[in-house]
Symmetry: C2
């Protein structure tokens, strides 16, 4: 099982830099006062396609071999990875095939279609998705790009931390949300090599706490029937991301949905920026654990901004 | 009747610079595609207290004489000027007295109170506001800071354009919303002196079009029973702002409320930033008048971000 190292992440940044936004780091004295902490927000909600996922997807697309570049890419996802992969494929002029559950939100379907992907609808079960994807890959010859269990995707996601460490040198803590673990894995590898004294913490919804349970028991424990407003974090760790996280991450903390919603609204109201529920989980963890973050400088990765304006949780 | 000149605006920027945010200029290729135009958004929604008003209020507070600094400042407003003046007064350690209508939104009352102002409630009529303010000024000796009919306030608002012209040299057009005309007046003075070929356009809701009517008839015509979602733009020009606008502004265009709401949502969805309805009026004007903005570079002043998340118009 291969995992990326710092060199892979550095190389990824060099390759994707012309295509991504170098997102800004914002601060809010009002939120600092509330949290009793000095927080630096890395705004991947401003990234292309609205989330950090565009980094990993771009890296995967750019590093395809010749056949892959002709045949294109495929994935199953109803979320940010689908849109990111479709956009990355379109920018590099190759076809993309996205398997989505029939009941995916209309706005997500429109985004993926708008980036020129060919969409295949399937019943909303993991089994149906995987079967449909298998058929699509067989028919088209496209390369399956997994949303997180993929070395190049992980290396791409790690570029967020490379930029953040240039923008805020030597933080005490960096905290990133964890779903499948791609972002947290890339972040942890980059941070532990470049700034070993910085603690890396994963932030997970209490209602989908497979990563926290796996981390604390030392055994990979997939999600069973997860429920959370942070719909980007429902997936479970893979063997690969679990191995990386066990090795490099200092802790995984959870937050309740009501705190996630409060944190999300705080970011909207105080910072005047739009983040999706999953992106608010790290701030929720800070709010629920003041003793850990008090008087520390903490970098927070705001993972994405694709909130559904027709169904706000507050 | 005195009006500020470029020197006053330059001086204002020097005085307020340590206290304000130099707000960023953002672009969106998605919105450019929709609008058929190259737009540069000056993000005063990120300004302290959430709107450009903090510039004028800060300038007014800093330039008070000795007595004024002891006695403090007063105004009547239910909107961004009240919060901005209260915050500016608090930063400079002087008292502020704000007259607000009893029915002002709870969130606005909390903001003003949170900045340490003393609030006086009155019935929601202009007459009651003015009477209450008169009494407060007599009792406290505080200096009345008008939200726009004030030379120092106008000079302060003009500093937005000074920064914008450094951030995007030589635009074809700069467009700012117009309510009482303080922002548009300061903008026009700065732009016409520094970049004479740049057209300055005011953007007004069709449901509160007193500035457009005044501009096109050459006669100051106050608002009568204005109705618009852009609640920061309900006020009418004063003799002072009308004189400046007639002299320096190239045109005033209006937009319908439905376009304003569409433009607001477009900014939220595509740029992932929060703007209030009034701040979306310039983009609405661009959308309704493609022939004017096509293939031009246009600077848009996003005036504020104090949207009421409990009562979204979409």
């Amino acid at each position: 099982m291969s995992v990326p190292d710092l060199q892979d992440i550095n190389r990824a940044l060099k390759l994707i830099r012309p295509f991504i936004h170098r997102t800004p780091v914002l601060t809010s004295s009002a939120i600092n006062d509330i949290a009793g902490s000095k927080l630096f927000f890395k705004c991947e909600n401003f990234q292309k396609a609205g989330a950090f996922k565009f980094r990993g997807a771009s890296h995967a697309v750019i590093t395809l071999d010749k056949t892959g570049k002709r045949k294109g890419v495929a994935t199953h996802s109803s979320g940010n990875h689908a849109a990111a992969l479709a956009l990355a494929a379109s920018i590099h002029h190759l076809p993309s095939y996205i398997v989505m559950p029939e009941n995916a939100p209309r706005i997500k379907k429109l985004a993926v279609a708008g980036y020129g992907a060919r969409i295949y609808y399937c019943p909303p079960t993991l089994e149906a998705r995987e079967q449909t994807l298998h058929k699509v890959v067989q028919e088209t010859g496209a390369v399956f790009i997994h949303p997180y269990d993929n070395v190049r995707v992980i290396a791409g996601q790690g570029t967020v931390a490379l930029e953040l460490l240039e923008q805020m040198p030597s933080p005490d803590i960096i905290i990133a949300p964890v779903g499948g673990g791609g972002l947290l894995s890339g972040t942890a590898i980059a941070v532990k090599k470049l700034s070993p004294h910085t603690r890396v913490i994963g932030a997970e919804p209490a209602g989908a706490d497979d990563a926290a349970r796996s981390f604390h028991t030392g055994q990979l424990m997939p999600s069973v029937d997860p429920h959370t407003i942070a719909d980007g974090l429902l997936t479970s760790l893979s063997e690969r991301t679990f191995t990386i996280i066990r090795h490099y991450v200092d802790d995984i903390l959870t937050a309740k949905d009501e705190t996630i919603i409060r944190a999300m609204r705080m970011i909207w109201e105080r910072m005047k920026i739009i983040v999706e529920p999953s992106a608010a989980v790290p701030l929720a963890v800070v709010i629920e654990n003041p003793e850990i973050f008090n008087n520390k400088t903490t970098g927070i990765i705001l993972s994405g901004g694709n909130a559904d304006l027709d169904h706000l949780p507050f």
